[in-house]
Amino acid sequence: MSTNPSVFRFHGGLHLDGRKTESLTRPLQHASLPSELIIRVSQHIGEPNIAAVKVGDYVSRGQLLAESSELVSAPVHAPTSGTISAIEERPVAHPSGKSALCFILIPDGKDTRYEYDQGWCNTHDLQPSDLLRLIRAAGIVGLGGATFPTEAKLTRANQQKINTLIINGAECEPYITCDDILMQTHAAEVIRGVQLLQTILQPQQTLIGIEDNKPLAIKAMQQALQQSALPHTSIKSIPTLYPSGGEKQLIKLLTGHEVHSTQLSFEIGVFCQNVGTCFAITEAVDHCQPLTSRIVTVTGPGVKNPGNWVTRLGTPVSHLIELAGGYSVQQPKLVMGGPMMGLNLSSDQIPVVKATNTILVLDHLDQPTAQECVRCGQCAEVCPAQLLPQQLYWYSKTRQFELAEQYHLFDCIECGCCAAVCPSHIPLVQHYRFAKSEIWEQRRKTYNADRSRKRHEFREARLLKQKQQDEEKRRLKREALAAKAAEQQKAQAADSSATPTIDAVQAALDRVKARKKAQLVEPKNTSNLTPDQQRQIDEANSRRKNINQDKS
């Protein structure tokens, strides 16, 4: 239960100018409600949500707005009470600048809470399965930025034996202070969340990693930890080095273990969770409050009064900028997240989502023009994933994506260290992102082609089977007909042999013959014949006689 200075090291990393004091000069404030909230329907990584309310519905704070029955998903709840005025596409925080489906909620100002049934959250009964259900129902996702549904992560991790629970309070990126101020002001709740995670995972030890540039947070957390008297739990102060807050980097720092390229952290018995997520779990379990707000840092040289605000999800960025005193520069450049990994925002009408830790307002600066790579190798020295950024760059640029993959492109965490040190100012991360999305596109195409092939082959097989069946049917019918005909013939034959009429027929035939013979006796018109005619008649008669003789 003490600050342990003995930590391990990860490869590379950068000492960056923290710039955290600006937003820490003011205490944590509660952001007022904007005139409209824009709540994105899906705010997690995984299967998309389906709306559970209609336009015109009145909702209370914490009421379910959208959910999905899929395994990897997290529902979304109303951040305040009010009326859903529309469900429409609005610009969201995404590198494409595209729109996504959002609820538009007009707050009524009452902020009434939705009363869940008893049993939705039950503070007395803390079975792991109940906790998991509640964490899912409360829409909790990883608040460090990945927004992977926490319940799905816990469920998968629980299938393995978890030895070490790591709580991530590193917050290594410059400007961001939301986790720092959360630990300073709500340390007890964070520790309570850690306790709840321990109940679920039953780890042998719990390590809380906090960068040593947050002495106040470390102190507050230590006090809260002492009061809670959690067993086998310690707070570790880690050296300030970007990106120590990356999951694999933090695991290396605290345990000395490396997570293999193909592994997930819990496969080596380690489970990582952010301090903000721990706080959200406490809110859900102890206060029946789904995830409807989070702390957002509004900072940067482009705002007048930087600070931290407890913000309802769906609050437009412009509202937060207003609370921070407005823009202080002519051409503000808005970033959601930190300067290294943040997303550029196309407008300030974009809403806060679960992943939003920071709104960073920078002065618009022209990017220096990229020069040719000089193969200095500095990028490889700072890469925390121990990759060869220069090789990846060449392969991405020349579209040799297979080679880029062989050089472990997908182990790149896009931390931006390589681009930050590049003396040629090459936008390396952009090259990697481009290569990754091209590879994904190729995989999607292959997947679709395989499906089409299967469907086509199935159709061919089905048609062939149908043809064979038809053929078989026709053959059976033909055979049946033939059998029937044969039977009829047989029956006829049997019939005719059974009756004595055969003699009668013979007798009738004989009678006809006799009559014909009798008719032959007297030829007509035989007077006055020339000798020639008489000869012809004689010949004919003799021929007829011969024929009759032959017949008989």
Partner: protein
């Protein structure tokens, strides 16, 4: 004597290897032509027949047997031609315009349900069973399964099928390549 031993030894070795090879040739015989599978894996599986063959597999067989050039697949475009060239090491040709043009934006068929008379002709034409419906009932396209082959268009007696571009979503959005460095070409 020494020569005889050497000849006998070598004959024995040669004979036994011959037997092993002969057995292996029967035991591990490869059914069909593996090149066909590899070519088929590269083709886009649109099953449109624009190449002049009755689907992707027959075209793959023709390519593998050297009966057809590799530039007859408009849906695959240049990417498919380059991939086939990598596999077969034949001359890279540009797409044969006789067979159609490559469309960058993927298309999907859409049935105007107001006009559909439920004749089932398009269902019979669809190579991947992506049309749902029955006689005298409205038909519809299963958009996820449609390969955009356009084979359903000609049989439709009321011309109620349109090809529409697939809308890009956030899930399949792609990063664009960073602008190439000042004036230089990629090497």
């Amino acid at each position: 004597m020494l020569v005889l031993i050497a000849v006998l030894t070598l004959s024995f070795i040669a004979g036994s290897f011959g037997l092993i090879l002969g057995y292996a040739a029967i035991r591990f015989r490869v059914e069909g032509n593996p090149i066909v599978d590899q070519v088929d894996a590269i083709l886009p599986q649109t099953q449109c027949g624009q190449c002049g063959f009755a689907g992707c597999r027959p075209y793959a067989e023709a390519i593998a047997n050297g009966e057809a050039p590799i530039n007859q697949c408009p849906p695959g475009g240049d990417a498919t031609i380059v991939a086939l060239d990598d596999l077969l090491d034949v001359e890279v040709l540009s797409l044969n315009a006789e067979h159609g043009e490559h469309n960058e934006v993927p298309l999907v068929a859409f049935i105007d349900e107001m006009n559909c008379i439920g004749c089932t002709l398009c269902i019979q034409a669809c190579p991947v069973d992506a049309i749902l419906g029955s006689a005298k009932h409205m038909h519809t396209i299963i958009a996820d399964e449609c390969t955009g082959c356009e084979l359903c268009l000609p049989p439709c007696p009321v011309d109620c099928i349109d090809m529409i571009p697939v809308k890009q979503t956030l899930a399949d959005w792609k990063w664009s390549p960073p602008e190439t460095l000042s004036g230089q070409t990629s090497s």
